[in-house]
Amino acid sequence: MNILVTGGSGSGKSAYAEDLVMGLSGSNRIYIATMLPAGEEGLRRIARHHSLREGKGFVTVERYTDTGGLAGKEIQKEEHPAVLLECMSNLTANEIFSENGAGPSDAFEKIKADILRLSEETEHLVIVTNEVFSDGVLYEEETVRYQKILGEINCFLGQFCDVVIEVVYGIPVILKGGDRLENTVEQL
């Protein structure tokens, strides 16, 4: 099953997504970390997420671009992995702006292909994304392009995933597939 978890900054979406994966079948839990470790604040954020995951039995794989490249290697169907990809807002920025990324013109197609590939090799794929679209601020062209690409990816994911959940201050608001979620998840 494919699940999309979205929400704003500080909404508790990470903690929710982790607990969600804990309730899914499969003991083989893989966490794809997409945040490039940079700066003191970035390292602090990564450390915070590390401690959030502690004791939840995740194997962490750091992957900043080309997440589809993990399919068939670190992530294999035969092992029935439950994979948590966190988060799409970082991955999109990496694909657009970083040296090894696909670049702005190809980022959407690249990420879409990677997600389809990952989904083939996972028992459950949970993707965390971010709502960065509602502050009413007019940003410079580069940032607007980033918002547009992430928006397109989120729309694709919303269609593709069986379940879509918006986390609002720790409260799950089910946007799609509530019945499927109830049937699959043991504890929420």
């Binding site: 508790g12 509602s134 201050y169």
Partner: protein, 126 residues
């Protein structure tokens, strides 16, 4: 405790006053912060977070005190986490702090209502 959230100018305050006509609501932008944890109603909770951070104090500690002192309070707060990560470090931290504080309030609250276009949608009810 009840938490009422939503974007700016969505009618959160009117919604709160309609639902709780007999309550006194303190404005967190101007109220005395020491006394605010004992308020029966708070408007603009996010402003308390900003003022505390500007004073070098921990908004989570304030949040815990609020829960301890006023477990039946009605808290109204503006949702501010739905945009691009701010370039300014303080603004970044503020945005995150409001999220964490409200997540704590939401988990303690028996009812959480999100107001859009003046209409309240209960996203948690116990």
């Amino acid at each position: 405790m009840e938490l009422i959230i939503g974007g700016s100018f969505q009618g959160k305050r009117d919604f709160a006053l309609r639902k709780f006509p007999d309550r006194v609501f303190a404005d967190a932008g101007t109220a005395d912060l020491e006394a605010l944890t004992k308020a029966e109603g708070i408007l603009y909770f996010e402003k308390a977070v900003r003022r505390l951070m500007e004073a070098g104090e921990d908004p989570m500690r304030f949040t815990e005190e609020l829960i301890a002192d006023s477990p039946d309070a009605v808290i109204v707060s503006t949702e501010i986490g739905y945009g691009i990560v701010p370039l300014d470090a303080f603004e970044r931290e503020y945005r995150e702090a409001v999220g964490r504080a409200c997540t704590r309030l939401a988990s303690f609250s028996s009812c959480v209502t999100r107001v859009v276009c003046g209409m309240g949608m209960e996203i948690k009810h116990r």
